[in-house]
Amino acid sequence: MTMNRRDALKSVILMMGGTMVGATAILTGCAPENQIEGLNFSPEDIAFLDELGDTIIPETDTPGAKAAGIGQFMVMMVKDTYDADQQKTFVDGLNMIRKDFKSEKGTDFVGAPVEDRLAYLNGLYEQYKSSEPQEPSAPKQPQVINMLRDLTVLGYFTSEIGATQALVYVESPGRYDGCIDLKPGDRAYAI
């Protein structure tokens, strides 16, 4: 879908002698889109990922996912550990979220009120959980929300902030106690 729109856009730009002013608005009736193409994540895209991650794991009494550099982490993981299909699903999904959020809430995701972002992402996750793929082996939809959840949780709890502040990181326990009391509020181990 993205490619089609892009291709269309390019042909318009060509027709107009390379002038892009107003082209998007003419084509789609929306403000200029800020779409990620391929795996070229701009600083703005990483900021967008930071905000997505920080909505999933926000600052509470400990820092949130943005403080742990979640945007950069997601980009690295998508580039290195996702296959081509998964990469496309992820990038298309981000573009969808960016566009869909704006048309639903009338503002960009980055900069929108926290409640709006949370409601929107929770809505997507509900949709994901209740979706019924036609074939049992097919993934639930939209996959991107589960990818964002997975990468945010992984990146945050294995980050220095997540492991040492949100969790308890003991590099070298030195002993094993098989049975100790867990008091309310005690945190889980990072590893």
């Binding site: 909505t55 999933i56 794991i57 926000p58 509470t60 400990t62 949130g64 690295m76 993981m77 290195d80 550990t81 996702y82 296959d83 949370l118 992402l121 929770n122 996750y125 959980k129 959840r149 949780v153 992984l154 990146g155 709890f157 294995t158 980050s159 220095e160 492991a163 949100a166 969790l167 990181y169 003991v170 590099e171 070298s172 326990p173 030195g174 002993r175 094993y176 106690d177 098989g178 049975c179 100790i180 009391d181 867990l182 008091k183 005690d186 945190r187 889980a188 181990y189 990072a190 590893i191």
Partner: protein, 559 residues
């Protein structure tokens, strides 16, 4: 120019080779220890052992590149960027799967002693007697009492922690204090004892992780990162244990990058006179002479060396006169069992990362019971609380999910069964006529499969796990079978079995090749049957025993 000469040559520096080098050097022999791969220096080369999670590239996940480049390793948990260099390079060292076979090899100083699971169990009398009693394959030439003192000897030096459980089926050893069970495991063990009236046992595992210091070794720090190398010498490896001892004698020469192509055999004396080595760095061929040779190159590679030796006399190689060389391939079949959850214990936790779990020794086909298969299986498992990676799909994003994941999750337990595979003659390996490795040596062809006996056993392996978990009070009990391909147990055994008769076995009761008495094979190749227990401790004991015998024979001028 005369070849360089040693009293003994040991081929391979893993669990068995390290022991051979230690024993022979300590008895005063000048020993050349040959290792086909690079050196790995204790502590210094454990590059990733102390990385915190945030410095681990990809946080333990596999990259696409890693997966694409490792079609063999990716079949199981072993593919990990943190210790990738310790697994054999797949495209350099291919093998042929005539039937599906997974072969995980460690081609460096220390071999798989750096990577092993460390579970250290003695075989029992019932295991050594089984072939003879059931008329399967050939009889072991030894019994438990022959090996018992050697088990004690190696346990004391290697360091094995465990509980003295007083069971015939799993004889006690010279243990350091056991690691404790956690609250859930302890209660489960009580329920099992009560319900089965002492016929089934949940035991704490017996790992070669030391709970007290040994010379040069601080001991286990409960980090559970053993397979990255332990800077504290917490577990037995060649580097932590046998190699320093061998080096301390001043009698050891360690030569990495030395691939043994074949043994040099003298038909007049009917002995091997040395080895032909291909230097993996320079591609030069070098020969070394020795009075005795210990093959500890890992089961199939020890056998491959024999197959390439003395072929002018025996087309099938040295030790092939019985027709059994390369045959009777064994492993442990596994990857099935059951898991469950348990309520309560929400206010209980543990401290430290215990590098072992529970062990349930064999309980089938004992005391007159006859299932629709022979032999049996054991289980390994553990109970724990889940952590941040658990699924909390019911919780909304934001603070609720974050807070939940910072708390310990529910308790769960899992058991995996490890079953004995019978020694079938037609399960075999052989040298390929067409496929060669990077150094021009014939690749191995694998042709092995589990049969009726193992398939029948697998039904019990799964069902019994579920039954015991229910008895122990667990709920949501689910069985699983992830499928097994031969070799996945990384317990490859057989192909040069011990026996009582040169017509039906490759080695005698002292691990000597019948056709060349100064050649000893003491790694997994020598196994006459597999039992259900993890086999490495038995290789250690057999190696120490054979080394003592060899030196004795040398002193008597019999070799």
């Amino acid at each position: 120019m005369a070849n360089q000469s040693y009293d003994a040559i040991v081929v391979g520096s893993g669990i068995s080779g390290g022991w051979a080098a230690k024993e022979l050097t300590e008895k005063g022999l000048k020993v050349l220890l040959l290792e086909r791969g690079p050196d790995v220096e204790h502590v210094k080369d454990y590059d990733t052992a102390t990385l915190p999670p945030w410095e681990i590239p990809h946080r333990g996940r596999r990259t696409i590149e890693l997966i694409e480049n490792h079609p063999n390793l990716r079949r199981d948990y072993v593919l990990n960027e943190l210790n990738l260099d310790w697994w054999a390079h797949e495209s350099d060292s291919p093998y042929v799967e005539e039937k599906p076979f997974t072969w995980f090899r460690g081609y460096q100083v220390g071999g798989r002693s750096l990577l092993w699971g460390r579970q250290s169990y003695r075989l029992a009398d019932i295991d050594f007697e089984a072939n003879a009693k059931e008329g399967i394959a050939v009889d072991w030439p030894i019994r438990y009492k022959d090996l018992a003192p050697w088990y004690s000897y190696v346990e004391k030096f290697a360091g094995v922690s465990g509980n003295k459980d007083g069971l015939d089926i799993l004889p006690d050893g010279e243990f350091m204090p056991p690691m404790p069970m956690n609250c859930v495991e302890k209660d489960g063990a009580e329920k099992i004892k009560e319900h089965y009236k002492g016929a089934r046992h949940w035991l704490i595992g017996r790992p070669a992780n030391i709970t007290q210091p040994l010379p040069g070794r601080v001991g286990c720090q409960y980090r559970n990162k053993c397979s990255l190398g332990c800077p504290f010498g917490g577990y037995f490896s060649t580097q932590a244990s046998t190699l320093p001892a061998a080096k301390a004698t001043g009698n050891l020469t360690l030569r990495p990058w030395s691939i043994v192509r074949r043994l040099i055999y003298d038909k007049d004396t009917q002995k091997a006179t040395g080895v032909e080595v291909l230097d993996a760095e320079t591609n030069q061929t070098v020969e070394y002479d020795a009075k005795i040779i210990f093959l500890c190159a890992s089961s199939f590679n020890s056998t491959a060396i024999l197959m390439r030796s003395a072929t002018d006399i025996w087309p099938g190689g040295l030790g092939s006169s019985s027709g059994e060389l390369g045959h009777n391939v064994m492993d442990h079949h596994f990857r099935l069992g059951a898991r469950g959850t348990i309520d309560g214990y929400e206010d209980k936790y543990y401290f430290g990362r215990r590098p072992t779990g529970l062990y349930i020794p064999r309980f089938r086909n004992l005391n007159g019971e006859k299932r629709d298969y022979v032999r049996g299986f054991g289980y390994q498992g553990a109970a724990s609380r889940s952590g941040w990676s658990r699924d909390v799909a019911e919780l909304n994003f934001g603070a609720p999910m974050k807070d939940a994941l910072t708390q310990p999750g529910p308790w769960s337990i899992g058991f995996t069964a490890f079953g004995e595979i019978l020694p079938y003659h037609d399960n075999h390996i052989r040298l390929s006529d067409t496929v060669k490795d990077k150094w021009g040596m014939e690749a191995l062809v694998m042709n092995a499969e589990i049969k009726e006996n193992e398939k029948n056993m697998r039904k019990d392996m799964m069902a019994d796990a579920a039954e015991m978990l229910e008895v122990a009070g667990f709920k949501d009990v689910q069985t699983y079978d992830s499928g097994y391909t031969f070799g996945q147990g990384i317990h490859e055994m057989g192909t040069a079995r011990m026996g009582r008769d040169p017509k039906t076995s490759v080695l005698n009761g002292n691990n000597q090749v019948w056709d060349a008495k100064n050649v000893f094979v003491t790694d997994g190749a020598c196994m006459t049957s597999a039992a259900a227990q993890n086999p490495s401790l038995t290789y250690m004991a057999l190696t120490a025993r054979a080394a003592a015998f060899a030196v004795d024979e040398l002193n008597k001028r019999n070799l």
